[in-house]
Symmetry: C2
Subunit: 340 residues, 2 copies
């Protein structure tokens, strides 16, 4: 297999966005395609994953290892196909999960790289339901949320990669699941395709009242992907001994200063527990995710949805759309075709 | 034993305070001293406990059973001495823990009443360190905070009845204890008398920096009595896997609308756990408190301090002082003398 272009196209970090990101916060250029040295392989990016946490990286948040300077390649998780290898464990043509970032080609020494078998599952799922977003939804819900059969579980960003996993897992362990999403189309998808018991559109009326109606016995578990007003509305509907899994605060990622949070009085009244989830603590459960959720997918008990954009050049606008909550499913960019 | 006055003096609820309470929010009058019927006893209040949660009752907060109308006797926990009894289990002269409210005399049918033995501990401790505030500090710290030896435990309102208990218990299970208090005098008391390792005066400089200096390895357990800016400053100094016990939000009690809370991003970053504490869930541990902390007190390993005001007429101003954070120790009103 040989490169289809003689240059490496890439998208760069240009500047920290003001508020929500805009395409002008990114740059684009080409660099020479590098040549693998001993112990390295060159891979061509097939799928680039777009994730809200990149917005946090773009403002230099200290919880991430990466530091971006203007002109640096944007960081990002990718599925790639090996073009040329001087690494004994990897061969040309193999699919790998690797952090190539927002570019067509990259070198790797194999550290942290996971091989993917296209016969087991579509390789793109390694960036979604059978990858970090799936692991986030699965472990957060099961190990931090600890839902019991018959309990009411609420999930925000319900049709996203994390939320749709958390919600379906809750359903499959016997809980009643109520989603929160930003359009009627998403809500309909959550109920019809994902099997949620109900889904409320937060753009349609007072969320406190919408949740009260959808969760008459109160909320036992809340899987929070957004923070902000949504979290505050949930707190006003807690059942006794509720568990709140704080996963992401997408709302805050596009802000320079952290916004205030919700009044915590209801947490005391409900004797509730709030726990912060960082998926990196649960990497040892990746095999469990692939085994458990993989089996549910094969048995058609579990659905996933990809929001696919074609072409690396369109990655910035796709990312901006994601940060506006206008994605629908796991957001991916198809950078090149899979070759068999 | 006979009544020393022929009227029952009492303090009434007059109106819901605007912000911090003022003495004019209360009324005062006298009523006839009631006569016990069959199965009842009449007791004379010796000590009235003043607790911040009364402020919440005064605004009709739904988490309390009591509802106050103007002219009603203010509710409150008391230690009283029985004057006359037609109840088979109680005799004149006995000391009891009973909810007489803010008045000199009241009837009781014995429900929820605890007998007190002045030979075991001063009866006033049943309202403080060996009563509900002590139970709050002890169970919250031990069962929700779960401190480990060598960990750093931070306690706000450090010299109050709850905080001084939580802090000393933390010290006695091997943790390093840092208090937060509102005066140098209180801080000195926390270190010198209560044995805290350090105490920061939140009125002196930036609390985030003060805590960073006092807790260089981060905060493992925070026992929160106040909420608000103090909680926000603690969140910016969390150690990994920190536990935050949300006990009281005194700051908010004097507000009509709940204020916003702290940004919860750091809770995610630290994989922290926040848990709401309601002491009524731990009433079954009262014997444990009296046994464990009682023994520490007798061994002079554990100190308590009472902020005593003489005379029921001074209860409103003492309560206002408490809500301004100007008390120093467990706030009590001596309503009448103990008779032996």
């Amino acid at each position: 297999m040989t490169p289809v272009s003689d240059r490496n196209h890439r998208i760069t970090f240009q500047r920290t966005p003001q508020g929500l990101p805009v395409p002008e916060d990114f740059g684009a250029d080409t660099t020479p395609i590098p040549t693998p040295g001993p112990g390295q392989f060159l891979s061509r990016t097939v799928y680039l994953s777009l994730d809200p946490y990149y917005r946090n990286v773009m403002k230099g948040s200290q919880i991430y290892a990466e530091r971006l300077k203007p002109g640096d390649t944007m960081v990002g998780e990718t599925v790639a196909q090996i073009v040329e290898s001087r690494h004994t464990d990897f061969r040309a043509g193999e699919f790998v999960l690797v952090k190539n970032g927002w570019q067509e080609y990259a070198l790797s020494a194999g550290q942290g790289v996971r091989k993917l078998d296209p016969a087991v599952a579509p390789v793109s799922t390694a960036l979604g339901v059978l990858g970090m977003p799936g692991l986030t939804g699965y472990t957060g819900l099961i190990y931090l949320g600890e839902p019991k059969p018959g309990e009411t579980v609420v999930v925000s960003a319900a049709t996203g990669a994390v939320g749709s996993t958390a919600g379906q897992v809750a359903r499959l362990v016997g809980a009643r699941v109520v989603g929160i999403a930003g359009s009627d189309e998403k809500c309909e998808y959550a109920v019809r395709e994902l099997g949620f018991d109900a889904c409320v559109n937060y753009r349609k009326g007072d969320l406190v009242q919408l949740l009260k109606a959808a969760c008459p016995a109160g909320i036992d578990v809340y899987f929070d992907n957004v923070g902000g007003d949504t979290l505050a509305a949930v707190l006003r509907n807690l059942a006794l001994h509720a568990r709140i899994v704080l996963c992401g605060m997408i709302e805050s990622y596009s802000m320079d200063k952290p916004p205030p949070g919700p009044f915590l009085g209801p947490v005391v009244g409900a004797r509730a527990t709030m726990r912060g989830l960082v998926v990196y603590d649960h990497l040892h459960r990746m095999d469990e995710l692939v085994r458990v959720v993989g089996a549910w997918i094969r048995a058609d008990k579990f659905r996933y949805r990809e929001d696919m954009t074609d072409g690396l050049a369109n990655a910035p606008s796709a990312f901006c759309r994601l940060m506006q909550g206008r994605n629908f499913g796991k957001t991916l960019v198809r950078v090149s075709a899979e070759h068999s």
